[in-house]
């Protein structure tokens, strides 16, 4: 493989240009790996926190109805479906909470804490008290920490709930939670039977949350429930369609930038190769005189592009890894309620990102090599030899 010999010697003989083009390629690869790691981090945090903090599927009453009646049968049916890990029926109603002169509108959720914990792990988010304290039908309430702050209440305090059409009733605060989402300001939990009593609704619910072992199976399962039961089952993907579309769009946009970044580095490589071709005209002519085929001449310069690309890719991968790891290690002072309780920039270092960036860079580099390589291979040997 004399072509490889010639290619490596050409590169070695032009150290400075080689260095610069390798820097260009490695910067492109490195930056793109960092980008991908950060994008991946944000995406996974967004999706994780979405699938952690909410039911994967929510079953709503039939169209035109306010409640799901006789829900125990539905509950059992759904429990039997494959991949279902938890089902939590809830009764939701609007209310105003009052403490001294402070009043806040809230969404009151009547739930069974044990069931609810299986759908969304509420225990995890408890700042104080126990989520399970509302297990028995009593006048106990668990509320978000911001709501508690706005009402200026703490554990053990008593708040008055104003429910439309019912007498005001006092609840004792037995738990405060913090999820890092706007729900902290508007959400409160009480026992389901207690709430049903207050609304005088009887044993009905306004909805049902379902958790699956695989969140990505929820679309299919929701459609199945829709068809089988005629209740309105909505997956988390449907509920968060806007966010998911936004993520997809931004990913598309980012790829556009990747192409531009790689394109710029590709021009760097092409530039070096064009210079080598111009400089080595006599040599190319002589190689042809010695019997080197045009294909081999082309191969020599494509190999040079590949070698420059490979060096850039290796350095770029190391650069990308180190920089991504460094970014992941930095603690940043952001208010936890702003970004899902994060105190680090979300970075996911994934092997496939390195592969994507490397393959991408190699392909663009080789494309960049095609023009100079073709130019060299199309030379007239006589002209090339006598050009010196």
């Amino acid at each position: 493989m004399f072509e490889l010999d010639v290619a490596t010697r050409h590169i070695k003989s032009r150290r400075r240009q080689t260095l610069f083009s390798v820097i260009a390629v490695s910067l492109a690869v490195g930056i793109i790996i960092i980008f991908m790691s950060m994008m991946g981090g944000y995406t996974s945090i967004l999706i994780d926190s979405t699938t952690e903090n909410q039911a994967h599927i929510t079953v709503m009453p039939k169209e035109g109805e306010d409640y799901i009646h006789l829900y125990h049968g539905l509950e059992n049916h759904i429990y039997d479906l494959e991949g279902v890990e938890g089902v939590s029926s809830y009764f939701q109603g609007e209310a105003a909470l009052q403490y001294k002169h402070n009043a806040e509108g809230v969404l009151l959720y009547g739930i069974n804490p044990e069931d609810e914990n299986r759908v969304v792990n509420r225990d995890k988010y408890m700042l104080a008290g126990e989520f399970t304290s509302i297990e028995n039908p009593g006048s106990r309430i668990v509320l978000g920490y911001k709501l508690a702050k706005n009402l200026d209440v703490g554990m053990g305090d008593s708040v008055t709930a104003q429910i439309p059409g019912a007498e005001p009733i006092d609840f004792t605060i037995t738990g405060i939670f913090q999820t890092g989402t706007p729900l902290d300001e508007t959400m409160a939990f009480v026992n389901i039977e207690r709430l049903q009593d207050l609304y005088r609704s009887g044993d009905v619910i306004t909805g049902m949350g379902i958790r699956l072992s695989d969140p990505y199976a929820s679309e299919d399962l929701a459609n199945g429930i829709d068809r089988e039961t005629s209740y309105d089952a909505i997956s988390w993907m449907e509920q968060n369609a806007e966010i998911l579309t936004l993520l997809e769009t931004s990913e598309g946009m980012v790829y556009f930038f990747y192409i531009i970044i790689f394109g710029i580095s590709g021009f760097g490589v092409a530039n070096v190769l064009i210079m080598i071709v111009m400089e080595k005209m006599g040599e190319i002519g002589m190689l042809m005189a010695m019997g080197t085929s045009r294909r081999s001449i082309m191969l020599i310069f494509l190999l040079e592009a590949a070698i420059l690309g490979m060096m850039g890719v290796v350095v770029g991968c190391i650069l990308g890894y180190v920089a991504s790891a460094a970014i992941a290690a930095i603690t940043i002072p952001i208010p936890p309620e702003m970004y899902f309780g994060m105190d680090h920039l979300p970075v996911v270092i994934e092997f496939k990102n390195f592969i994507t960036a490397s393959v991408f860079a190699m392909v663009i580099n080789i494309i960049a090599g095609v023009f100079p390589a073709r130019r060299a291979s199309k030379m007239d040997p006589v002209e090339a030899i006598y050009s010196v």
Partner: protein
């Protein structure tokens, strides 16, 4: 009859240019025997180098045929031409055209490697060839570490390493002083006698041409004189 000629050129014409046409070779006919040591002379622009490049199949004629060893090279594909150049032809130019990033030995190995010879074998053959041209002690030197005469010797070793039947030289001593020229000439002559290879040299140097077996004079793309010099063995 025809077997005795290694090169047979018939009605060879080469016209350059699209708009203003220049007839570089005008209906040239020439037969060259195996082992001949000949010179092509003529004023600038007479078509010497053009003829040489035609014989070296670096260029294609406008019309006419060139038979190398009985095979018409003007009908060859690009690929066949490359293979023929590699196996049957050796080139020496005025400027040595050594690959500057390779040392003397590697430069001489190159035609063998292009031919697909194994590296170890190529190294052996190339070092023997370098010893033959008197550079056994300069194998690891790069072109920029060698004198003009030495580089031209490396170029000669490279031209001959594949044992081509025809060696063509376009002013091989044109860049050298007279002493170095003489040495190169002696070397070429010796190699020609030892290996019975055909040498065709373009030169301006009358002194050198006189020492060859046969001299051809080209004027305006035509052979105007073809003389034997009485130097044959």
């Amino acid at each position: 009859m025809s077997e005795k000629y290694i090169i047979q050129i018939k009605n060879l014409t080469k016209i350059f240019g699209d708009g203003v046409e220049i007839k570089a070779l005008d209906d040239v006919g020439l037969n060259i025997e195996q082992g001949e040591f000949m010179a092509i002379m003529g004023p600038s622009g007479s078509g010497k180098s053009t003829l040489l490049n035609q014989i070296g199949i670096l260029d294609t004629p406008t019309s006419g045929t060139i038979l190398l060893d009985g095979v018409d090279v003007t009908k060859m594909s690009d690929k066949q031409r490359s293979v023929t150049r590699n196996k049957q032809l050796g080139f020496i130019f005025q400027y040595h055209h050594l690959l500057p990033d390779f040392n003397a030995l590697e430069n001489v190995m190159m035609p063998l490697l292009i031919n697909g010879v194994k590296r170890s074998e190529a190294r052996k053959t190339a070092s023997k060839m370098l010893e033959e041209v008197g550079l056994g002690d300069r194998m690891k030197h790069r072109p920029n570490q060698l004198s003009g005469g030495q580089n031209q010797r490396v170029a000669i070793a490279r031209a001959l390493v594949n044992k081509p039947s025809i060696v063509i030289g376009d002013e091989p001593t044109g860049n050298l002083d007279s002493k170095a020229s003489d040495n190169i000439y002696e070397l070429l002559r010796r190699l020609n006698r030892e290996h019975n290879q055909t040498f065709i040299l373009v030169t301006h140097d009358k002194r050198m041409a006189a020492k060859t077996d046969r001299t051809i004079q080209l004027v305006d793309g035509k052979i105007c004189e073809d003389s034997r010099n009485g130097n044959d063995d």
